[in-house]
Structure formats: C-alpha cells, structure tokens
C-alpha cells in the first residue's frame, strides 16, 4: 500500500464521517438497542474501515458496510465481555438475527432511524436541558466540549447531563421509535421546541459577552432542514422559515462593534435576500396547507417585515392581524407585548402604551426587561421623558446580556441630553 492510497482513504473516510456518521449511528442504536454500545461500535467500524479499505478498496455502499461492520464489532465486544455468562447468548442471537433479517439498508429505513433518534433525544420525559444536549451530541454530532462551550457550562457538567439522559432512556425503557400518528403532534411540538431553543441561544444568547452565537443557529437550521426532509409537517416548514427569516437579518442586527441595532434602524441592504426568498416560500407553502400553527404565524410576521423596503413602509395592519391570530392560537403575555408594539406602529404610540400598561397592571411581564424598554420607547416618543427614564432604568436593572445593557445605557444617556 502506498502513502497516497492511505491518505486518499483517510480523506474519503473523513468525508463519510461528516456526512454519514449520524445515519450509521441512528441505525446502530436500533440494531443494538443501546446508545453507548452503538457509539463504540460505530467508532470501531470507522477504524476497521481505515485498515480494510486501504487493502480491499472502498466498498460500493460505504454506509451499509459501516453498519454491518459496527454490528459485528458490537457482537464481538459483547461476547468478549460475557465470556463466562451464558445468559446473554439469546440477546446476542437476537442482535445477529435482527441483522440477518435486515435487507440492504434502503434509504427510507435509514431515514426512519434518523427520525427515531430525533424523537428519542427529544422525549418529554427527559429534562429540557438534557434534550438539547443529547440532540446536539447524537443528532448533530457536536462534541461534549463544543456543546459545553456554546451553553457556557463545563464539559464535565454537560457530560453528566448526557450520561444521565442515556441512562434514563435505557433504564426507564424510552422506546426507540417514531411516535404513533395519535401522539405525533404533541411529540413534534417538543422536537420543535428543542430546535428553536438551540436557534435562540445562538441568535440571542441568554447571557455572556456576545449578542449572538452563530454556530448554534447554523446547527438549529441544519436540524430544521433535516426534519423538513424527514417529516414535512406545516409547523416544521414554519419553524424552518422563521429561523431562516431571522437569520437573514443577522449581519444587520449588530454593528461591527457588537452594538444592537433595532429593526427600524437596520440597513436593509444587508439582509440576506436568498434566505428571505427561501423562508418566504416555506411560509406560503405552510399557510396554504391550512394546518399551520404558531411557528408559521411567527414566520409570516417575519416575512412581512422582510418584504418592506423601509420600516415606514411596513404593512403594520397585516402584522397586527397576524399577531391577533397568534394570540388566539397561543395566548401569552409576550405575544401580547409584541402585538402592542405593532399596534403602536399602526395606530400611534399611545394606543400601544395603553396595552403595555394593562399587561403590566395585571402583574404579567413585570420582570421582563423588553416590556419595560418598549414602554420606555413609547413614552419617549410621546414626550413623557420622566416616565421613559424610569422604564429604561427598570429595564436596565433586569437585563442580563452585556450588549443589551449597553444599548439601554445609551438610550438613557440620549434621554438626558
């Protein structure tokens, strides 16, 4: 074997690892019934490939080769571990048989395994933070270190979260399956929540120095695209559209120095037209299904913003209409606040302020900095400077994120001058 073959195979394997390792893993988990066994088996299969492919050439169907090699490596492992235990023989036989019955893994079967993996990682009986960590680890293939870094926690803490989640899947017997038709809407909701949480953490980091962490948003969009291929439900399209439309504004949302720029002050020529076109097409497709939900409506709102060439030419009536629909579908004080801002743009600041004050008077959103900063801005526009100052100060006291704090401080200073 010459040096160039060896390097060539290594490169081919690197590519296959990037594109196929999650599919191989998803199938091995089904065949072997356990996350850790499957992960070990997959890595064994890749290292076996490095040796054998150099000698025998790259097989016609590398993925099938890897699944099959992984399965036999796992059976060997279990045999070795349980040399003197006969109790596991039926289990080994079962794995072997399941494997033998398995036809050449076809495309559809493989894609089912990926859906199984997603639904298992996002099972509602797992802790919300564990769902996110497990999905990024198993479905996206991020390392524990990468995930820990993205969520500003330590690798040991994150590793423990993943270990416990896998233990629960095994011990409480969370099945490796796509939910039944009856359960699908509820379970899909949890999956979409996980993806949106990952996106939001990347788009508007909950704490820390930088306003956004783009890696996580990319990962969430990748997940959204994958889910759209596997399960093109209207809300899956809606969530993907929402993420793409938000993403289209990323470079306009912050100044090079990392300062926040509000929607109406953004340089709209910086918006990514390609992402807007893709997102808008998805919104239309989802809306025409007549079975859309809150993600699609939020995406539709983002699409109305995207098509306006300037803040002043935005179709605010359309936006208020969409928010009213959204409020009926998922009543929440945060949606009400957003609707109030749209009303202020359509009917004038005092109309919006009235709604915000009624939300706060109910005791809702009193600890939400954006409620106070929206109130402050409307007061400022109405010339009620003292009230504006008090609300900005309240918002500042509640804001966690550094760029957000700098933004509020600047607004406060401007008020004084």
């Amino acid at each position: 074997m010459n040096e160039s073959t060896s390097q060539n195979v290594r490169k081919i394997l690197d590519d296959i690892y990037r594109t196929e390792s999650r599919r191989v893993l998803a199938t091995l988990i089904r065949l072997l019934g356990d996350f850790d066994t499957a992960e070990d088996a997959m890595h064994d299969a890749f290292s076996a490939a490095l040796d054998q492919w150099q000698r025998d050439g790259v097989p016609a169907n590398p993925r099938a080769w890897l699944v099959s090699a992984g399965r036999f490596k796992a059976i060997d492992q279990i045999r070795r571990r349980t040399k003197f235990e006969t109790s596991l023989e039926p289990f080994i036989e079962q794995i072997g048989n399941a494997a033998a019955d398995e036809p050449e893994p076809d495309h559809e079967g493989i894609e089912d395994d990926r859906l199984r993996l997603i639904f298992t990682c996002c099972h509602p009986a797992l802790r919300p933070d564990a769902r996110v960590a497990l999905t990024l680890r198993e479905v996206c293939g991020l390392t524990t270190e990468e995930i820990a870094h993205a969520f500003l926690t330590t690798p040991p803490t994150l590793a423990q979260r993943i270990v416990r989640a896998k233990a629960k899947i095994r011990d409480a017997r969370i099945p490796y399956e796509v939910p039944s038709k009856e359960d699908l809407p509820d379970r899909l909701e949890v999956v979409l929540q996980v993806i949106y949480l990952v996106f939001n953490e990347g788009y508007s980091a909950s704490s820390g120095d930088a306003a956004t962490r783009p890696d996580l948003s990319d990962e969430a969009i990748r997940l959204g695209r994958l889910l759209k291929e596997l399960l093109p439900d209207p809300e899956v399209l809606g969530l993907l559209a929402l993420m793409l439309l938000h993403e289209s504004r990323r470079s306009a949302r912050t100044s090079p120095a990392g300062e926040i720029i509000l929607l109406e002050d953004q340089n709209r020529s910086l918006w990514n037209r390609e992402l807007i076109a893709e997102g808008t097409a998805l919104v239309e497709r989802s809306l025409s299904s007549q079975q859309f939900g809150p993600y699609t409506l939020q995406a539709a709102i983002a699409a109305v913003h995207a098509e306006a060439s300037a803040a002043a030419s935005t179709d605010w009536a359309e936006i208020v209409g969409l928010y009213s629909l959204l409020l009926r579908m998922t009543p929440s004080p945060v949606v009400e606040l957003n609707c109030a801002v749209a009303v202020a743009m359509r009917d004038g600041s005092s109309a919006g302020l009235e709604i915000i004050d009624s939300i706060l008077a109910r005791g809702d959103l009193v600890d939400y900095h954006l409620a106070h900063s929206a109130r402050a801005e409307l007061c400022r526009r109405l010339g009620r400077t003292e009230e504006a100052r008090a609300s900005y100060e309240r918002a500042l006291a509640l804001a966690q994120q550094e760029p957000e704090r700098r933004f509020l401080e600047k607004r406060l200073n401007k008020l004084q001058s």
Binding site: P124, A125, P128, A167, D171, D186
Partner: protein, 136 residues
C-alpha cells in the same frame, strides 16, 4: 387489612454511602423483609428506580402533558413501596418501626391504610351496564 407503605429516601444519603455500607444496609433490610414474609405480613413490594427516571403526566389545557422528573422536587423521593398485611394501624406501625431502612436517616415510611372501593366498583358496574342496555 392491607396497608400500603411508601418508603421515602434521600437519594443523596444513599449515594454517599460506600459499597460496603450499602451492602450491609441492604442485607439488614432484606433479612427483615424475610421475617415479614415468614409471618405472612409482607403481601407485596417493589423497589423503584431513581426519581430522575420518572415521567409525570398532568391534565393541562384539555390534554395530557408529559414532563420529566418526579411529581415533587423534594429532598426525599419515593424509593419503594410495600403492601403490608397487618391487623390494624398500630400493628402496621409496630412492624414498620423495626424496619432497618429507617436507620439510614433522611427518609421515612408513610403508612396508608387501603380504601375499600368494592361498593363503588359495584355501583359503577351497574351504571355502565345500564348504559349498555340503553344503547340496545
């Protein structure tokens, strides 16, 4: 009469014990369970996996919502249940007071007399029968 005994433990106390301590503790518990079985007082029992493996179902906005974790996030969690056959509550208290698991500390046994629902079941059956007859 049957008493359901709910055994609560502080999982942290258990995790802090050494392997030897855990073994000695379990040996004491099991040998007392054997005594209860011999005297016909141990009707049934099951140990539970850790509370973090729990799932909780609730009725929320007109549908079932599934969440992770135990019902209450408290220090003590349900670790096992025993169905005790005892003459009366005092007898049940007597029997469970001697259970070595109490010595671990941080936990407790909650003794709950079983309720007799047989009359309720009969009435319900009658109601459901009537309904079926009406359909016919």
């Amino acid at each position: 009469m049957k008493y359901i005994c709910l055994g609560y433990i502080d999982e942290k106390v258990w995790e802090k014990m050494s392997q030897n301590e855990q073994n000695a503790f379990m040996d004491r518990c099991f040998s007392y369970d054997d005594e209860l079985k011999k005297s016909g007082c141990f009707a049934n029992g099951e140990a539970l996996q850790g509370a973090r493996n729990a799932a909780t179902l609730r009725w929320k906005n007109g549908r079932v919502s599934v969440t992770d974790g135990p019902f209450a996030e408290t220090k003590e969690q349900l670790g096992g249940i025993m169905v005790l056959e005892a003459n009366d509550l005092n007898h049940a208290i007597q029997l469970m007071s001697k259970h070595p698991s109490l010595s671990m500390g941080g936990g407790c046994w909650e003794i709950r007399p079983t309720a007799d629902l047989s009359a309720m079941v009969q009435e319900s059956e009658a109601r459901r029968r009537t309904r079926e007859e009406r359909i016919l």
